[in-house]
């Protein structure tokens, strides 16, 4: 078994902070090597060094037997390393083909041969069984397709080593399955793959070996078929996971009532069509669906970010249809948004400024139009502690938080609103196991204290742990309702694929 890429005693420090601490890691030819660890454990940092985006503070990177000092990603690419970032590195206004070939365009003289590019992409698609339409604009592609484009880009550049940083975080279950199949096929074809993920069942399904990081150190490298998810998670978190317990409790009066809701898109096509449902006090309702079937629009219209064309929504008895965001929030709605960088946070603002959004108008938080900083600081400190948000200080910029920690912060903020009703969209996307437990436990606690919770998630397991009822959306309509307890994955998947229509 040949080793194609190796990290020897890699250390990376940012000021006083040690992000990677003497890491040893090796990648064999043709293997899928998973890397797992809590948020902020140093996974991405390690990958950035392997890909030449950062220089290690000390230690060596060995590629195909040679010690390398990559100055830039370009040099890494030339050594056959390709990386797919979690936050896609694509030009939304360009076509799929353009995005894939950029940096290595087929040309006749100075002319960019777009036709040849498209042909090559088609051939590439055939070889690797990854299907995209070369002429489509990336902005029109689904997240799953974008992921495929990223992988094709790496393959197009002739990479033999492919680094995937949390590729599955934004994908639907179906897309995840496809992706894992693809990865396995690529490994069979001789590519070596590093897969970062927080989902252990994916690790168990696809990986050959697993390396676990904790606090910048390697806590173990295991053969996947000789270990278990429990062992991995113990190495990751450093303790046993407790698991979340669900109590039975009776649902109360409806808190959120949605009636005949219709939202039309720019072209007049209905994005949401005749949506009716209730969420009752002490109940968690899950909304499942393949992304792009109206869940995002539903969440947005409920929060007042877009206007409904028809229908009404009642919150705790008051009509909040098409009210401004602030009024809806004041009427008692909290919201964990699905895209944390776009809607959920401001990277350039401080942790505290991020945390008080939506709170600053509450009683006790302001006086004569001025913010009561002392009070707010206390609040934020409380959340940071109870949700275990890893941050140096609450005055640090939010961009220095790792993605998972930012998600915890957002959840803390919204759960801390103490509203009658909370909408949680993808509440645990990209979040490690420990943090996921914290968030789940908090959502369940809300349910137990008699509040209404609406969860929108593409993660079926999450949906099934949390929900009392599951509504499935397809093409802007609710096509089925299941009891959380009795629902099976197959059943939901079938409904999500439109099988409930007939």
């Amino acid at each position: 078994m040949t080793t194609v890429l190796e990290a020897r005693q890699i250390t990376k420090t940012y000021g006083d902070f040690i992000a990677n601490d003497g890491i040893d890691f090796s990648l064999h030819k043709g293997e899928i090597h998973a890397i797992v660890g809590e948020n902020g454990a140093g996974k991405t940092t390690l990958m950035r060094m392997l890909y030449g985006m950062e220089a290690p503070t000390s230690g060596d990177i060995v590629c195909q037997g040679e010690v390398k000092r990559f100055q830039s990603p370009l040099e890494a690419i030339q050594s056959g390393i390709g990386m797919v970032f979690q936050h896609f590195m694509l030009f939304p206004t360009y076509t799929v083909a353009e995005n894939i070939v950029i940096g290595n365009e087929p040309a006749r003289g100075i002319w960019f041969d777009r036709k040849l590019a498209a042909d090559r992409i088609k051939a590439l698609c055939e070889t690797y069984q990854l299907h995209v339409d070369p002429d489509q604009k990336v902005s029109e592609c689904s997240l799953g397709t974008r992921q495929r484009i990223e992988i094709l880009k790496v393959l197009y550049n002739g990479a033999d080593i492919i680094i995937l940083d949390e590729p599955t975080a934004v994908l639907t279950p179906l897309e995840v399955k496809e992706l894992l199949v693809t990865i396995k096929r690529l490994a069979k074809q001789g590519k070596s793959i590093i897969l970062i993920t927080h989902k252990l069942h994916e690790v168990m399904e696809a990986a050959d070996r697993v390396t676990v990081l904790r606090n910048g150190k390697v806590t173990g490298t295991l053969e996947a078929d000789r270990t278990s998810a429990e062992e991995i998670s113990r190495l990751m978190v450093g303790r046993e996971l407790e698991g979340v317990a669900r109590q039975d409790n009776k649902a109360g009066e409806p808190v959120l009532q949605v009636r005949k809701l219709v939202v039309k898109g720019a072209n007049g096509k209905a994005l949401l069509n005749d949506i009716n449902f209730d969420v009752c006090a002490g109940e968690i309702v899950g909304i499942a669906g393949v992304s792009g079937n109206g869940q995002s629009e539903l969440v947005r219209v409920l929060n007042g970010l877009i206007k409904a064309d028809q229908g009404s929504m009642l919150l705790d008895g008051t009509d909040v249809t098409n009210l401004p965001v602030r009024r809806i929030r004041a009427a008692g709605l909290a919201h964990i948004p699905e895209d944390r960088y776009l809607w959920g946070a401001s990277k350039d603002a401080s942790v505290k400024e991020n945390a008080i959004m939506g709170h600053y108008r509450k009683d006790g938080c302001h006086r004569f139009g001025l913010l009561r900083h002392k009070r707010l600081n206390q609040l934020v400190h409380g959340w940071v502690q109870s949700f275990a948000v890893k941050t140096a200080s609450i005055h640090e910029q939010a961009q220095y938080l790792s993605g998972g920690n930012l998600q915890k912060l957002i959840s803390a903020r919204e759960i801390g609103q103490h509203t009658k009703c909370i909408i949680a969209a993808e509440p645990t996307r990209g979040v490690d196991l420990g943090a996921m437990e914290i968030i789940h436990r908090q959502l369940l606690r809300k349910r137990e204290s008699g509040e209404a919770v609406l969860v929108v998630s593409s993660e079926l397991s999450e949906m099934m742990t949390l929900s009392d009822r599951i509504l499935v959306m397809f093409e802007g309509e609710i096509v089925g309702e299941l009891k959380g307890k009795d629902a099976s994955e197959e059943e939901i998947s079938l409904l999500m694929a439109g099988g409930g229509r007939a």
């Binding site: 401001s346 108008r361 200080s393």
Partner: protein, 355 residues
């Protein structure tokens, strides 16, 4: 501590860079064969050398600080106001006409005139907002183009309907405002007037506003990430109108203050020729739209200009070269050496260098 750092930095960087700029300026000066030390001494003397010169630096800084604050305000909320010049001109015009034609005692006229200046500037910038909302016209273009229209319009008003008919009458200017409604001078025989106090007062007000008030927080959040602010319940349209009105109003106030405190009448070209608006734009950008930083940068740029005038008077450096030296100094100030070096990593993450 954390809170102070960015503010301190935003003030320190221009000062650091000025040192580098002075070195570059020295090279330019040495080409003319003049004594470098002599020139810089005169540059300093022209800006701060005596109380008189300090006061004229303060007077010159007044409209720059005010419109700089305006530009910074809009910028904080995420909007680019390139129209300070037009807003300033209309503000000055409205102030002059109000002071001339509103009945009442002097101080009433004065207050009315200042309000008119603010209103005129604010309304002019709201026109740009309206076009952005209604027709999606990019603010940058519309505010830039509205400058030309405002300047031409003001020129017409003071060479036509409201022309000064006293004196030689050949001038595109309004009549002189009664002494009773002048902004008082802070010191006798010095050019600095009460407008400077207004500017400093507003600077402090904005610093406090951004640190402590709800509105300040909302404006800042909107500027940093509009989607996030909207999601959190900030009304973008309301805030856009508010911040652009404030921005234009401040530029209008700058014009009004200049008219009521310096020229005592609206003179065609007197607000545009010194390039106040451009200087203010630079000040706001250099300070990263921080209010206190903007005021400090405005003051430094004004000092650079009055200093250059002094250098011109008292050395043999030709007039033309002082513009070159100014430009060189500004170039170096713009680099923010210390800052950008420390934050280079971050800049890379932030999508390059733009704005």
């Amino acid at each position: 501590m954390k809170n102070w750092n960015p503010m301190l930095l935003s003030m320190m960087q221009p000062i650091m860079a000025i040192l580098f700029g002075l070195t570059a300026g020295a090279i330019v000066v040495s080409f003319t064969g003049e004594s470098v030390m002599e020139c810089f001494k005169e540059l300093w003397r022209g800006a701060f050398g005596s109380f008189y010169f300090l006061s004229s630096t303060m007077a010159r800084a007044t409209p720059i600080i005010l419109s700089g604050l305006g530009i910074a305000f809009a910028f904080r909320a995420g909007f680019f106001n390139m129209g300070a010049e037009g807003q300033m001109v209309l503000g000055g015009l409205a102030a002059a006409l109000t002071a001339l034609h509103v009945p009442g005692p002097g101080w009433v006229k004065l207050v009315a005139a200042l309000c008119a200046g603010i209103a005129a500037g604010g309304m002019w910038s709201v026109l740009a907002v309206w076009m952005e909302v209604k027709f999606k016209v990019n603010l940058l273009i519309s505010t830039l183009l509205l400058n030309y229209i405002a300047v031409l319009f003001a020129g017409y008003i003071v060479s036509g309907p409201f022309k000064d008919t006293s004196g030689s009458a050949g001038l595109a200017q309004t009549a002189m405002i009664d002494q009773g409604s002048w902004l008082p001078k802070l010191y006798n025989g010095m050019s600095v007037h009460a407008g400077f106090s207004i500017a400093i007062g507003l600077t402090v007000l904005f610093v406090l506003m951004f640190r402590y008030s709800i509105v300040g927080y909302e404006v800042k959040m909107l500027g940093l990430n509009p989607s996030f602010a909207m999601y959190g319940g900030v009304n973008r349209l309301q805030m856009m109108i508010f911040s652009m009105v404030a921005s234009g109003g401040l530029a209008g106030l700058a014009g009004g203050v200049e008219v009521l405190g310096m020229q005592y009448r609206f003179v065609d070209g007197a607000l545009t020729m010194p390039g106040y608006a451009w200087t203010a734009l630079m000040a706001a950008l250099l300070a990263n739209a921080h209010p206190a930083g903007t005021a400090v940068c405005s003051f430094l740029l004004a000092a650079l200009q009055t200093g250059a005038a002094g250098m011109e008077r008292n050395t043999n450096v030709p007039v033309e070269l002082s513009a070159v030296i100014q430009a060189v100094l500004i170039l170096f100030v713009s680099v923010k050496f210390g800052y950008s070096f420390m934050r280079r990593r971050k800049a890379r993450k932030n999508n390059g260098s733009i704005i």
